[in-house]
Amino acid sequence: MKDPESTFAVAEVDGGLTEVPTAGLADGADSTSRVEVAAYRLGQWLSSPRPYLMLLGFGLFFAFWYLTVEVWKLPRFSQMPGPTTIISEWLSRDPTYGLSIYSPEYYQHIWVSWRRVSIAFVLATATGVPLGLFLGWSQLFKEYVFPVFELLRPIPPLAWVPLAIIMFQGSETPIVFLTFLASFYATTLNTMLGVESIDVSFIRAAYCLGARRRQVFWHVVVPGAMPFIFTGLQISVGVAWFSLVAGEMVSGQYGLGYLINTSYTMVQYPTMVIGMITLGIVGYATSAAVRILGNYLMQWRTRELAMGGEK
């Protein structure tokens, strides 16, 4: 196989084109290097319509914003800062409202928020995954715990704010706690569903082959639930960001939520929108990072989907 084209099978994955080296795998040797694969994928991506449609989407969004706010100055939109105002403020060395990519304060806000989300996300994963696994694995445990869980779950993080302030000292812990809550529910629930979704044949097959209960748990239940766990983690990291903002609006001195809220009260609308957009970018990046990690850890699934998702 000299021609790199011929070593790849093209298949639909998540609605997009992804290529997997199949011939190389069937030979039992990875003849193509990772760099080559990455370069090939990038080439394929650029020659597909996807990146251009994406750019077009962004273009339309900004055009709509620009026209309604800055050109037509429609009622209701006239108070809003337009995209040119935002971008010039954002990239300015001497911002009118004191915040741009050149001010260290901006990074302070991002860093503080990011740290809170990370701590909360790690805690939620470390507690939610094992809890979900046990809920799915043991009927008895589920009967004790699940009703309580379901009772607490609908309570939105915002409703927890007063209690969080009473329960925890300082301003940092309550915010982390609020951020943790929503993540924890998403992770636990998805993990539990993941365990319940495992085909009983896999569990039976493992017992047949002489596995003990503990081995079935580690060899079948944990990997079998993995796709759902990672879906849960992606949701979890997303909801972490929005419950974080709820927490930061209530207390704290830094963070993107705090930035948005204070800019609003101080009538610094461009800064407020900069905060919002930054939140979007950072949130998207963390969610993508979780997805990439998931695909890396679940090679079997990535390859299976690449083969057309045949069961």
Binding site: G28, L209, M298, E304, E310
Partner: protein, 298 residues
Amino acid sequence: MKPEPVPSRERSLAETKAPPLRPDPRRRGEIRIADVVKIYGSEATGVRAVDNCTFDVPAGKITVVVGPSGCGKTTLLNAIAGFHSITSGTIHLDGALLCGPGRPKADPGPDRIVVFQNGALFPWKTIIENVAFGPMVQGRLNRKDAFEKARAMLAEAGLRNLESNYPGEISSGMRRRVEIARALMNDPKVLLLDEPYRALDSLTKSVMHEALLETFDRNQVTIFFITHDLEEAIFLGHRVVIMTTRPCRPKKILTVDIPQPRDYSVLTAKRFREYLDETIEAVHEEALKAFAAGERER
């Protein structure tokens, strides 16, 4: 591999219609099913899936159980495998009680390995990890030795070069063969196959049948095979047990006197057609009953 045991050709020719069971000491895996009853739900109002079911699965033979869909064949297999309990009766494997009075459910174990209808290779393990799984979790072999044996097993089944693939990357026919190799890794006494080729197209199926017979010739392992494909039943089976519809019990037991090893030319042989006609007649009656009963339930 093991030296070639007694040629099966003479043995099957020597058998008469209801052969007395004389277990060959070299062979193992004789299952005796006696008066087995399985009721789902309460004794009085529950569904009687299996009723007074008595028959033997001779060691070192392929016994095929046929019957209409949903007749309770799989219930019986699950009882032998230890996935379900039975309500009464006994099931013995080589004289040892699997389940019976005081022990409603057998323990699943590597002496009776099931190959499932939709396949149950772990999708998150590579082919070699799947095949090596049994001896490794049982603590019989370490990783290196288990992999070595698995490699030999795969090579024997003509499945080289697949080791590092995941089950999702190979064809469904290959997956079934890998699954049988995974079972044989444990030297089981009995292989329990639950309509393993149901989802395959007929061309793949015929290849699978020949591969299974070849595997059987090499290993002489007792096979308990469930299907509702009658041609498949007669082609593979030394003994074909035709089941009644719910509740399930043997209606007719055929001993198929077609010499082993069989190949696909058998399908057109006169003798084969006769067996097939006999089976069709028996099964059709039950299928009609099952259909009528199904209509009532819905």
